[in-house]
């Protein structure tokens, strides 16, 4: 046995020796505190709104013989060319980056391959296959580029990947931002200019989260080292020009969180919502398509109730929206493309699940979606035309098949294509 091996073998005992101390009888004080403290309802625990480690749930791609690799690559190129030609003949104009658009293709990932699904027919087409492990992120706002992550070799736990771009309507090869910087819980948002992307990554040295803004063709790459983003909430480009990115930061009290905006040109930040020790930001945030309002949820740290708020992007005119009588939890807002309705999750006292509800921001009647969301949460995205919601619920750690929720009736329809992991819904010109 080497010195190093013996050292590592003995280290637990040495550490135990160093940490030796009297019995921690303060446990009795703790227990008298907890005896009078309330427990949190199941759906409100923080784990459900921390980003999920995508890579831990993925099955490693099996290495294939070289002959099959070549055949698969050839097929992938042919299919990509066919898809490119198909899309090229069907899309002549591009939509504006925010607001309503016509419904295009749906990005679906299966077994490390990228597919594009036509939601009208349910037919899916392989866009990029082969031995690599790829995963859709989504489409650029103009619908011309597909953005995906190519994961690196599986290390048995988490791993890193590169952001890649496919030019839809072209047979050209994918282009990558040549840095291994995407992690399983990175957040990504495409800029309204259709050329840039913002994402979060880890600084390996500290460790801490950083915001990166890069060109999708890899020509520019900027790290915002001085912006202390937290490990959830992601980044969201703000309409109309994408000059600012919204993110969630730790508050000055270091206990709660604030919502701030980062000027991507100057690197300056400004507060939009600042919390005190009594309240905290809960879950995701959503900016209206006109860039003037922000929807977010605020949790009372004493009662644990969660209320939905809408505030002006200048940090003024904060209002509670849609709080139904008796609801104890309303969060996860998502503006519709028209900027009039909010998809939210609503929980009632005593229930360990939440229900998706479409709330009229002007105070009109709610639309109750006929399903339930457990504490595992759900991925959701409005259809570009605002007629429905593409959703994928997770139950007991397992992703269910995709669903379409009718935004008018609340009816739920299982997707007609094979179960996949959804990445986004392409916006195309009306």
């Amino acid at each position: 046995m080497t010195f190093e091996q013996r050292f590592e073998r003995d280290l637990p005992l040495i550490l135990d020796d160093i940490a030796m101390g009297p019995y921690p009888d303060y446990v009795n004080d703790v227990l008298s505190t907890t005896a009078h403290g309330r427990q949190r309802p199941g759906w409100t625990f923080p784990g459900r709104w921390l980003p999920m480690e995508l890579t831990t749930a993925r099955v490693p791609t099996t290495r294939l013989p070289m002959r099959q690799l070549g055949v698969l690559a050839l097929i992938a190129i042919l299919v990509a060319a066919m898809l490119a030609a198909y899309i090229g003949t069907h899309q002549q104009r591009v939509p504006p980056p925010f607001g309503p658009a016509a419904n295009g293709l749906i990005a679906a990932t299966r077994d490390g391959d990228l597919y594009a699904v036509d939601p009208r027919t349910g037919r899916d087409t392989l866009v990029l296959g082969g031995p690599t492990k790829d995963e859709w992120v989504g489409f650029t706002p103009d619908g011309t580029l597909g953005v995906f992550v190519r994961w690196g070799p599986d290390s048995g736990a988490t791993t890193t990947g590169k952001l890649g771009t496919l030019l839809l309507g072209s047979s050209s090869a994918p282009v990558f931002i040549d840095k291994d910087v995407i992690h399983g819980d990175s957040a990504v948002d495409m800029a309204p200019n259709g050329r840039d992307v913002a994402f979060t990554t880890y600084d390996e040295g500290t460790p801490r989260q950083l915001i990166i803004v890069a060109a999708l063709d890899g020509s520019t790459y900027h790290r915002f080292d001085d912006v202390p983003i937290t490990d959830y909430g992601g980044v969201t480009y703000l309409a109309p020009n994408g000059d600012e990115l919204l993110y969630i930061a730790r508050s000055a009290n270091n206990e709660t969180h604030d919502i701030r905006a980062l000027d991507v040109t100057t690197g300056r930040t400004r507060p939009i919502v600042e919390t005190t020790a009594a309240t905290d930001i809960f879950g995701g945030i959503s900016a209206s398509p006109d860039g003037k309002r922000l929807a977010y949820a605020l949790q009372d740290r004493e009662t644990l109730g969660v209320e939905l708020h809408v505030i002006g992007i200048d940090g003024r005119d904060d209002k509670v929206v849609g709080h139904a009588q008796g609801a104890s939890f309303e969060a996860w807002p998502l503006w519709d493309p028209q900027g009039k309705r909010l998809l939210i999750e609503r929980g009632q006292p005593g229930e360990d699940f939440a229900r998706p509800v479409i709330v009229d921001a002007a105070g009109g009647p709610d639309v109750l979606v006929q399903t339930a969301i457990t504490s595992d949460g759900a991925w959701k995205q409005w259809a570009p035309d605002g007629s429905s919601i593409l959703a994928q619920r997770t139950v007991n750690g397992k992703e269910l098949g995709e669903e379409l929720w009718d935004a008018t009736t609340g009816a739920v329809t299982p997707a007609s294509w094979p179960a996949s992991t959804v990445g986004g819904w392409q916006r195309v010109a009306p």
Binding site: D16, V27, V30, L31, T34, A35, A157, T158, D185
Partner: protein
């Protein structure tokens, strides 16, 4: 009653069951927190915070078998929160005297323990947390990565650096024959 039964009762609001779980875990939590924070008062705060969070969030724990790891995670994250909050203030090292050494109480053992102690102090709290989670609490590296919300590659590289620092310190402080006897009491 076994731990699983206690966790299931505590999840439903049985505070007596939670008290039994807390008393069984508190010594190990306290020691882990003292190793990470190097300050018994801060460690006490962190363990208290971890246990209060555990009681509050127990209904969200889906797998009762995962209770130990989950409680360790809450406590270690409470430690790191405290450390970050107080980063501007020097953390005083006020470890209590050793009462019952677990390894041979000879001069060589004490020298080795002191060396490790000194090196551990020189690491930042995040680095100490990785060493403590892996070597003291026995977590596999992927679980350490999940606990600290960092990539497993980062965990490996930081652990490698921390162990390297410890080895170098011990190498610098002792000559080769002593190292051999320090490591296991006999030559390899």
């Amino acid at each position: 009653m076994d731990q699983r039964g206690l966790v299931e009762r505590a999840r439903k609001g049985d505070h007596d069951a939670f008290a039994e779980l807390a008393r069984a875990a508190v010594v190990r939590l306290d020691r882990a927190a003292r190793l990470i924070l190097r300050d018994p008062e801060l460690a006490r705060d962190a363990v208290q915070d971890g246990l209060i969070r555990a009681w509050r969030d127990l209904p969200g724990l889906r797998d009762p078998e995962a209770f130990d790891g989950w409680l360790h995670r809450l406590t270690v994250n409470a430690c790191l929160d405290l450390a970050r909050r107080r980063r501007r203030r020097p953390i005083e090292v006020e470890l209590s005297p050793i009462h019952h050494p677990a390894i041979a109480d000879d001069s060589v053992g004490i020298a080795r323990r002191d060396l490790v102690d000194n090196v551990l102090r020189s690491l930042d709290p995040d680095g100490r947390a990785i060493v403590v989670l892996h070597y003291y609490l026995g977590m596999p590296l992927p679980e350490v990565a999940a606990t600290l919300s960092i990539p497993v590659g980062t965990v490996k590289s930081r652990l490698h650096r921390a162990l390297g620092t410890m080895r170098i310190a011990i190498t610098d402080a002792t000559d080769e024959p002593q190292r051999e006897s320090i490591a296991g009491g006999q030559l390899a």
